[in-house]
């Protein structure tokens, strides 16, 4: 196994996380370099994710590296029944590092074990997506000037949303206070509350959005997905209660910023987009610099 792989945010220490954020700021100041000249990076997307793939590929191309790969399993040999083990071995003959998205959970950890070249996990099912977490941290740092002692409201699907789970893990280094805002069906699972208690992280739970975020520094919205609900009536009710509208921001703190991993559906009303507190599109742009930092670290480049 290549020890440089990035599978889960918990693979990185606090120092490594801060080093990535530092490096990302450096890339933001000067994103076009030729530090990966002559390197080949494979992007293996066993399930489509245009946003993540384009972000990684842009990161590599802006550093002078080249891209091989596929964007859909239907066009790869896995559709002929090839095992992940074989695909990884084959691709590692050609590439210096592999960026992989796979629908099966644990696929990235397994790939990192069998691969002679580093693996960057670009999402394994509902399990981990560490580059998203790092770009969330970068966005928080950039907008607040610090990661320490912030009040963060997590809103929406807190049960299945992997981005919010990873964010809790990553923020645990920086003395946060959390507020979990979710309908009963999508409440934060116990294991993460146990984790918070164990790490002395204060949190509160509420089940209405209303104006429960007036003391927040970060409002992290997630998509409430229809398919998570057994009762569609309940979905219709929740969907409307969990829509953030511009007037609801009237009494919020001036440093509040709204993040969302995107794509959004109706949980943020378009009338919020013009508010200076809306940060989700710039958050996506930050993904580029963070991914430049990740690819460089994994390949041992600065």
């Amino acid at each position: 196994m290549s020890n440089n792989s990035l599978v889960s945010i918990s693979d990185y220490s606090k120092e490594e996380i801060l080093a990535i954020l530092d490096s990302a700021a450096d890339f933001e100041a000067n994103p076009n370099r030729k530090t990966l000249d002559g390197k080949v990076i494979a992007t293996l997307f066993f399930e489509p994710s245009t946003r993540t793939r384009l972000s990684f590929e842009t990161a590599v191309v802006r550093l002078g590296g080249s891209i091989i790969g596929f964007s859909d399993a239907a066009t790869s040999s896995s559709s002929k029944g090839e095992t992940l083990n074989d695909t990884i071995h084959m691709v590692s003959c050609y590439a210096d590092a592999i960026v992989m998205r796979h629908p099966l959970e644990g696929a990235a950890r397994y790939a990192a074990e069998v691969s002679p070249v580093p693996i960057i996990n670009a999402g394994d099912g509902a399990n981990q997506h560490p580059s998203q977490t790092l770009l969330d941290l970068y966005s928080i740092l950039k907008t607040q000037g610090t990661l320490e002692n912030l009040t963060i409201c997590l809103v929406g699907d807190l049960k299945y949303g992997r981005t919010v789970h990873s964010l809790i893990m990553a923020m645990s280094h920086f003395h946060p206070t959390f507020k979990f805002i979710a309908p009963d069906e999508l409440k934060m699972p116990d294991e993460y509350k146990v984790f918070c208690r164990k790490n002395n992280i204060p949190f509160t739970e509420v089940n209405e959005l209303n104006d429960n975020f007036n003391d927040a520094d970060i409002l992290y919205m997630t998509r409430v997905q229809k398919e998570r609900f057994l009762d569609l009536m309940e979905y219709e009710r929740v969907k409307n209660v969990y829509t953030l509208k511009n007037f609801m921001l009237a009494n919020t703190k001036s440093n509040l910023r709204i993040l969302h991993p995107l794509p959004r559906v109706n949980e943020i009303d378009p009338d919020v987009d013009g508010n200076e507190k809306a940060y989700y599109f710039r958050q996506a742009q930050n993904g580029l610099y963070v991914r430049q930092a990740i690819v460089s670290k994994v390949l041992g480049q600065k």
């Binding site: 889960s8 095992t83 959970e105 644990g106 950890r109 397994y110 399990n127 981990q128």
Partner: protein, 153 residues
Amino acid sequence: MSTEKKLKVAALRNGTVIDHIPSDKLFKVVSILHLDTCLNQITLANNLESAKIGSKGLVKISDRALEEDETNKIALITPNAKINIIRDFEVVEKRALSLPEEIREIVQCTNPVCITNNQPVTTFFHVLKINEEIMLKCHYCEREVKREDVKIK
């Protein structure tokens, strides 16, 4: 009953006795220890009366002293089983079971979309103690499952 049992255990010259296996777990133990393909003389007894657990099973394996990492594999399903290693008709070691820190192969992940349930990957779990409760965490998909909900392959 107890004289009879002692005779049976004492009748083993060299080998391993696993006692106090709950009756419904006997054949799981056989399968986890791969006794179905073991060529040594093996005596299985089941549904014996037990003052401690009601009904128990017993395994005697001749001429083979199981290693600790082998017997610990059954700690997950029979934490209170007793292991006796016999040499020249004498019990030379009474071994308590302890749960290993890592468990490979014998447990199946409960997550249907875990890589280990969909591709030829050997399962691998970390044994965690969270608030006095034993949990198994899949090394791959990171899902945690309580000890009593574990699926043995």
